[in-house]
Symmetry: C2
Amino acid sequence: MQIGELARSTGVKIETIRYYEREHLLPVPQRTDGNYRLYSPRHVEQLRFIRYCRSLDMSLEEVRILIEARDAPAGSCRTVNALLDEKMAEVDARVDELRQLQHQLRNLRGLCPQPDEVKTCAILMELNRSARIVKAQI
Amino acid sequence: MQIGELARSTGVKIETIRYYEREHLLPVPQRTDGNYRLYSPRHVEQLRFIRYCRSLDMSLEEVRILIEARDAPAGSCRTVNALLDEKMAEVDARVDELRQLQHQLRNLRGLCPQPDEVKTCAILMELNRSARIVKAQI
DNA sequence: CTTGACCCTGAAGCTACTTCAGGCTTTTCA
DNA sequence: TGAAAAGCCTGAAGTAGCTTCAGGGTCAAG
């Protein structure tokens, strides 16, 4: 299977596949006489594994750790648990952050329901005011 | 006011301040005879404005747009409204995404309450299984 | 035999900074 | 007075996770 077919069958861009190879996330594939990469079903699985982890917001470094854990059948999966716990905490924190952000943006946006002139724009005035207040807090 | 004092009084790193200057987000400051940057209160305000916008998750490009709008007193603030509307939509979408992620991570984590051996680790088995299913969906 | 689809490499670009190397200027203290 | 320390300078490179680009080779079809 050439890189184009792998790309089509996984929905991953060709460049990204080559990038993962450079990053040692995908094993080096065989080559044809014409120097084309040749992939096996094992590559397909690994690539899907990577993308699924990425869809769970894991960094490539974290994916690397998971792959390593997976390939060490004797080890404990404590690492995997810890990684997930950390990730969940991160996501929770980020959600809280974004919720606060939603409130701030909504408040700001509520100041100017109709497009007006900039010199009297309540949003810009508020942005400036808030910036000054942030100063006071620091 | 030298760059160090500006940094201290705004909580922004010196390197970041110089970076904003390179990016034309901060006006070029005066210099002393020894070539040290000299800032005015106007710079302090502008820097705070930038950081406040950044805390609202705006990109530097968006901050640039806001600054431009602010400095064009005759314009309409339609741009500002549109920018905020777009930003709010983005944040809403991201929150939804992260909530789904939370569920997935919790489910995954629930598979292995006690650290076990990798070869029987339910999490890794599930990661592999899910990756295959994602394949089926594509 | 040439066109088009496919593949190759290495380098650079993206965001928003941070870090580093190497070298001035100014202040402080002995 | 002189030297160390603190502060500042520049330009370049590094960070994550790709994407894009330039310039070229390979292969099947017409």
